[in-house]
Symmetry: C2
């Protein structure tokens, strides 16, 4: 095997090929190390655009790339499709699902986060979250299926429920989902149905806090709210969802009947803190040292959504791609420095470049801190920035093409209901055995 000669080199094991993990490997290029990248999936996912897969705008393959292909030219990097089951700090072992182990000199844990239901895990089947490609295709299937079932439904009440979509959580993901679902109903699907009018669809965005996009400035929150309302999204603020079932949600004591709910309300870090046996915050993120290492274990780095760390301004570092990348860059530099025998010891300092969110067609908001941008210009910047950050010329072309079509024709390129055929079945009332054809 080509890297047999590498075995006496410092072995860096990176767990997780998200933005943080890939950046670490990228910045270790040329360093005297051998690297093993472990991920339970074969692809790196461009999560910022995942909501567009969930709303049929993009295909799964447009925002995901095989990890080992991204790293193919790095001969010193071995990529493994495997699930980590635990870590033996004493022996410096990463334990894998098949019983095998990886012996590390330095360990970088960048395993990200899943969505959290704040102790209501029983809600997940009714209101799936959006973190993986499977999540996205599940949500896409449910949204598209709801319209299909509404077209067949003869009972007006159930038809109304089928055409009601509830997005729980008013952060960027929730705002983006609500906006695109509204556009899907009010633009894309118009004219496709005979028995229902997709323009009568209700899209309800429920945020427990006082305003949308809490991470942004107040006026941006207001702008987002007005823009969404213009798109026909009903916005509910200040009241949490207290119940979530197959038939809808309860908010402020009031039951809202709906057949499709999406969860965008919170995240739970992966169990890295458990693996390493250190303290975690409420979201399960590991309380790391200022240099992103596990207390008492300088050879273990924890970065990205899995780590709890505060920015110089005292605010927590947000769980966004740029933050994870900065941490990956920092860790790679620190490992290089140590190999040269002089660790910098300087703490990680997060620099916030800005916050972006898009609100449907031609509308977006950007908060650069110093100043803010909104409207079409922000939207174009958002689009170009995301295309720029996509990996590979091919994907940039492909996504640009999909967006162009979406923009010019208000069409979606991936309106497919796949998997889970008949996952949900329409039950008609006794009198339901009537001719579906127009009366």
């Amino acid at each position: 095997m080509p890297d047999r000669t590498l075995t006496d080199l410092h072995h860096v094991v990176v767990v997780g090929a998200g933005f943080g993990g890939l950046q670490t490997v990228h910045d270790l290029a040329g360093a005297p190390v051998r690297i093993t990248m472990v991920d339970r999936r074969n692809h790196h996912l461009f999560q910022p655009l995942l909501y567009q897969v969930a709303t049929a705008s993009l295909a799964t393959s447009e925002i995901a790339w095989p990890i080992r292909h991204l790293l193919r030219n790095r001969r010193e990097v071995t990529t493994l499709l495997a699930t980590v089951t635990g870590i033996d700090k004493a022996a410096r072992h990463v334990l894998l699902d098949d019983g095998a182990t990886l012996v590390y000199d330095s360990l970088v844990i960048a395993t990200g986060a899943r969505h959290a239901y704040f102790g209501h895990d029983d809600w997940e089947p009714f209101a799936p979250g959006l973190k993986t490609l499977e999540d996205a295709t599940t949500i896409r299937r449910r949204i598209l299926r709801a319209f299909e079932e509404a077209e067949r439904e003869t009972d007006p009440e159930r038809r109304r429920a089928l055409m009601t979509f509830i997005v729980i959580g008013g952060g960027p993901t929730g705002v983006e989902l609500a906006g695109t679902i509204a556009e899907l109903a009010h633009l894309t699907l118009v004219g496709d149905f005979r028995n229902v009018d997709s323009r009568t669809t209700r899209v309800i965005l429920i945020e427990a806090g006082p305003r949308l996009l809490p991470a942004f400035t107040e006026d941006i929150s207001l702008y987002a709210q007005h823009t969404l309302e213009k798109l026909g999204v009903e916005i509910s603020l200040g009241q949490p969802v207290t119940e979530c079932t197959a038939t809808g949600v309860v908010r402020g004591g009031e039951k809202i009947a709906a057949s499709t709910m999406v969860w965008a309300a919170g995240v739970q870090a992966s169990p890295a803190a458990e693996w390493v046996g250190i303290a975690a915050d409420r979201a399960g993120r590991a309380m790391v040292e200022p240099d992103l290492t596990a207390p008492g274990h300088p050879e273990i780095f924890i970065i990205g959504d899995t780590a709890a760390i505060t920015a110089p301004d005292g605010r927590p570092v947000p769980g966004i791609a740029p933050a994870a990348k900065q941490q990956g860059r920092y860790v790679a530099a620190e490992i290089r420095a140590r190999l040269r025998g002089r660790s910098t010891g300087a703490p990680f300092r997060y620099r916030h470049a800005g916050s972006l969110a898009t609100i449907g067609k031609s509308k977006a908001v950007i908060d650069f801190g110093r100043f803010t941008l909104r409207g079409p210009i922000a939207w174009w910047i958002w689009g170009l920035a995301h295309i720029y950050f996509l990996i590979g010329v091919r994907n940039r072309l492909s996504v640009a093409l999909s967006w162009l079509w979406n923009y010019l024709r208000d069409q979606r390129s991936s309106r497919l209901i796949t998997q889970g055929l008949g996952e949900r079945t329409v039950r008609l009332p006794p009198n339901g055995s009537s001719d579906h054809a127009p009366p």
Copy 2:
């Protein structure tokens, strides 16, 4: 509802939105009818390119389109996502899964075929066939997963089995699958792995008959065989598979160890003949009258892969898209004629335009009957023809882009393992708990 005024019109129910069903609806444009299109999926599938989804060359959304969107401008057409459970000929009812019924004046059954295991249905879990998008993503997942597991496998024998792929059936689909899997291994994946060399992959194509592509001329069969052999495909002729398990197949008394098998050996028509209660041939295709109607029921047409009919030359009409489209055209014309009170009564006459099959990059065969074409020119014609027949400018651009990349870079745009995470797990031998990193 817009079509309330249509209710006293002749009601045509079309079951199945494949090539035949869509062509029927297309050619009924402007006729004094109202149409209900029923399909259990929300998308029309361009099956001729399905093998490219299974081999990661194309994305699912590039070869499938929402049926109701294709028919959106036909106000007289209602599209229903529903599964047909039976037909009441006396009452002229189509029975749907939700208990509802559709009352028809004319019925067109174009429900296609599934793959058949010739009484060995227990083989299906080990050697899935290729008819739906789900089939394609399942096969894609198994192929890509096999390489991932081989990279982790320490036992040489099992590693060999993981890197052995068996395609059962030497028709166009089998030839196309074997060729693309070989290219995937010998071109696309080269350099992506550290512990295995994808170029050592074995691809075995097993055909029970005496030659590949039996529907083509003998010299084309030989050409296909030599081309595949150049690509590194091992070809086995004249012996059927007699056993198929999770660990491989038995052919000619010899066991071939493999972890990934694909079935391309035969099809079984959908149960239309059963529904209508008429005779069927061995493949389950309904024995229809020369005018494609069910014996004794001139108001019921059965077309495409679901119907057994012979061409003027006495040979059976092949189960290919052009045949289904010709039948759809014929049925639409016949219904129009009847509505004008004068049925032509002329039997359906199949005109064979030609047979195409592609054998890996820059190699294809075309049999126009009068003459045959092979090699790069045939391949370009094949490619252009397929892009031409794709529905929608956007999909043509998208597929052209994917193919261009595939052609120039030998890369695949959809190398994603999705769904069924951990569907198969690698079991390592006792000594397997060794460090995965190079020894």
